[in-house]
């Protein structure tokens, strides 16, 4: 028997270079306008899962919620060693805050069923909230361990993990199934060349039908056949809608989100009386002199 580990990953906008145009009028983010990357700490969560797979024998399923293009991070996870991938995608999920997101993910977990360990990155770089992990744990009534750096031991009824706390660390023991959020404390393995060869053909059903539409054939039977082949080869990325995971539409997306954006303001840094100082010895010397005289220094 092997462990079943689910890893939750997110495709995020690369927040380093975002401009005001990236926000839509309703106050949500226009992700289309931004370069998308694999959320860094989700890679740490995946790495931890893959290490557990190496150490204890496990099946690793990656799950993401996002637009159809988020299948990209799932393929990336397959290249690194994940066994199975699930994309949760539906227009009704748009605008979800962390509560609505964790609810949708919990429905997905219930559909997957059978799991021992759920892993999330500690937080995503687009919001830095670190909320979805604990909220998903609560939705599933599972115990949680946040800020995990390493798993010391795993046995069928419990996990022992080392995790960060303010000013130090703790070793915690927790019964399974459980959810852990993972810190940037390991080095994610690179994509493996052989796995790329295999999984670059992995597709979601909608990617497959899109390829068909582009090639201008609309043979439903052929499509079904090709899907069956992908499935058999382990190359099918599952793609589920809100209905397919049994999610109550009142509880997902903007509707299911208690937090609303009231307004968005561009930031104008309040200019203070700014004095330019020459980067020369005399310029810097007189600056230091001034600061000593007004008792800021010394």
């Amino acid at each position: 028997m092997s462990y079943s580990i689910l890893v939750f990953v997110k495709q995020v906008p690369d927040t380093q270079n975002i401009s005001g145009e990236a926000m839509k009028a309703d106050g949500t983010v226009n992700r289309a306008a931004l370069p998308a990357i694999f959320n860094p700490e989700d890679l740490n969560a995946l790495e931890l899962a893959l290490e557990l797979k190496d150490r204890f024998d496990a099946k690793v399923t990656v799950v993401t919620m996002g637009p159809p293009t988020a299948a990209e991070v799932l393929r990336d996870a397959l290249y690194r060693g994940a066994d199975k991938a699930v994309l949760l995608t539906d227009r009704s999920f748009a605008g979800a805050d962390t509560l609505a997101t964790s609810f949708a993910l919990s429905c997905c977990v219930n559909k997957i069923g059978n799991y021992d360990l759920l892993l999330c990155g500690r937080q995503a770089i687009d919001g830095d909230t670190a909320q979805v992990g604990p909220q998903l744990a609560e939705k599933l009534k599972l115990p949680q361990i946040a800020y995990v750096e390493d798993v010391i031991d795993l046995s069928f009824d419990k996990v022992t993990a080392k995790r960060a706390i303010d000013g130090g660390y703790e070793v915690l023991e927790c019964k399974l199934p459980a959810l852990m959020t993972v810190m940037d404390a390991n080095t994610p393995r690179p994509q493996a060349a052989r796995r790329i060869m295999k999984f670059k053909r992995a597709k979601t059903p909608s990617e497959l039908s899109k390829a068909h539409a582009n090639a201008d054939y609309t043979d439903a039977e052929l499509l079904a056949e090709e899907l069956a082949v992908l499935e058999e080869k382990g190359l099918l990325i599952n793609e589920w809608t809100a209905n397919e995971v049994g999610a109550d539409l009142e509880r997902v997306g903007l509707k299911g989100s208690p937090t609303k954006v009231k307004k968005i303001e561009s930031v104008v840094l309040t200019a203070s009386e700014s004095k330019m100082v020459e980067a020369t010895e005399s310029g810097i010397g007189s600056l230091i002199q001034e600061l000593i005289e007004d008792h800021t220094l010394g």
């Binding site: 906008p13 927040t15 975002i18 401009s19 990236a22 926000m23 309703d26 106050g27 805050d97 962390t98 509560l99 964790s102 687009d126 919001g127 909230t129 909320q131 979805v132 992990g133 604990p134 909220q135 609560e138 115990p143 949680q144 361990i145 946040a146 800020y147 706390i165 303010d166 000013g167 130090g168 703790e170 070793v171 915690l172 023991e173 927790c174 989100s257 208690p258 937090t259 954006v261 009231k262 307004k263 968005i264 303001e265 930031v267 840094l269 203070s272 700014s274 004095k275 330019m276 100082v277 980067a279 310029g283 810097i284 010397g285 230091i288 002199q289 600061l291 800021t296 220094l297 010394g298």
Partner: protein, 340 residues
């Protein structure tokens, strides 16, 4: 006032019987919000043998201290804390609930918010009371908590409102809210509650716990010299430390420098680090993103050293030096040593 609205609650974080600074800062802010709303400021204190902390909480402005003591509440583990807090919320219906954005607060608050189906906003840099017209859903709300935080890369400040069932929950970083002086003449009411905990909340066991109090006190430092990504490497970061030591200050950093591994997270200044208000803040090789600036723009004097004359940091600086920090910092050290 129309219906009776709930009180303002502050989750009090304590470690070995010492209250976290951020909790006291939030008591001060919470009192200000409560006064505006005409409700009480109430502290929720969990632990074991912590009753003696109540006096401190009154002195900072709490009208009530709700105390829950149990062996299972020491040391902190998330499940019993979440259980007790959620039960208290259901019973007393607070309007607002504030948490420090610490390791504990950020693990606990989302768990409670999820069970209570309440909204939660992380890392707020300001909190205000105002009305909210939700044009999309054609609903209006009075006297709501405006939860203000930088968003998305930082050109933007978002005001977020929680429109569901109370409480309106937020987390706030240490140092963001100012701590007022305590007044030992203030008193309050102690409300003791008996936690109802079952084995279900005790499935997480602490095997080992190692911690020490923070070694840096950025908030209290009168002079801070901060290094950013422009410092370039760990070796050069020693120059930042040298300047700080020479001036008798502490070392700060931007998140990019922390992420690069040049210095510990305890030194990070900004929205997700510490907020500081020193007499003098020297930003070296820091571009001036809103998340960084949010944590230092109340400094009395700011010097920015950057080789890009267009860097946004110059717009908050009182003194700007355009140049290579590797050249400027040694000159500063030399000048100070010559004059002081």
């Amino acid at each position: 006032m129309a219906d009776q609205i709930g009180n303002v609650w502050i989750f009090i974080e304590q470690e070995e019987g010492k209250i976290a600074d951020v909790s006291l800062e939030l008591v001060c802010k919470g009192r200000e919000l409560a006064n505006q709303l005409g409700v009480k400021t109430e502290a929720v204190l969990l632990g074991n043998n912590v009753e003696s902390l109540a006096d401190t909480l009154y002195s900072y402005g709490c009208d009530t201290v709700i105390l829950a003591e149990d062996e299972a509440l020491e040391p902190f583990t998330v499940l019993p804390y979440a259980r007790v807090l959620t039960d208290l919320i259901v019973e007393h219906k607070p309007n607002i609930l504030l948490f420090g954005a610490t390791f504990k607060g950020r693990e606990l608050a989302p768990r409670v918010a999820s069970e209570k189906l309440a909204g939660l906003t992380a890392d707020c840099t300001d909190l205000q009371i105002d009305d909210f017209d939700d044009k999309v859903n054609k609903a209006s709300y009075q006297n709501k908590l405006m939860q203000i935080r930088p968003a998305f890369g930082g050109n933007i400040i978002a005001t977020i409102v929680n429109t569901w069932d109370d409480p309106q929950m937020v987390t706030v970083r240490e140092g963001v809210m100012k701590m007022d002086a305590p007044d030992s003449n203030r008193t309050g009411e102690l409300v003791k509650v008996t936690p109802k905990l079952t084995d279900a909340e005790k499935v997480i066991k602490v095997i080992e716990r190692v911690r020490e109090d923070k070694t840096v006190d950025l908030k209290g430092a009168p002079i801070i010299v901060s290094g950013g990504y422009g410092v370039g490497d760990k070796e050069t970061f020693a120059m930042i430390k040298e300047l700080a030591a020479t001036l008798g200050g502490e070392v700060g950093a931007s998140r990019a420098a922390v992420d690069a591994g040049w210095i510990d997270h305890d030194h990070q200044v900004g929205q997700t680090g510490v907020t500081v208000r020193p007499k003098l803040y020297i930003a070296c090789g820091i571009s001036g993103s809103i998340q960084h600036v949010a944590g230092m723009d109340d400094s009395k004097k700011i010097i920015a050293i950057n080789n890009d004359p267009d860097a946004p940091i110059f717009s908050v600086a009182h003194y700007g030096i355009v140049g290579d920090l590797k050249d400027v910092i040694p000159k500063m050290i030399k000048a100070f040593k010559a004059k002081a």
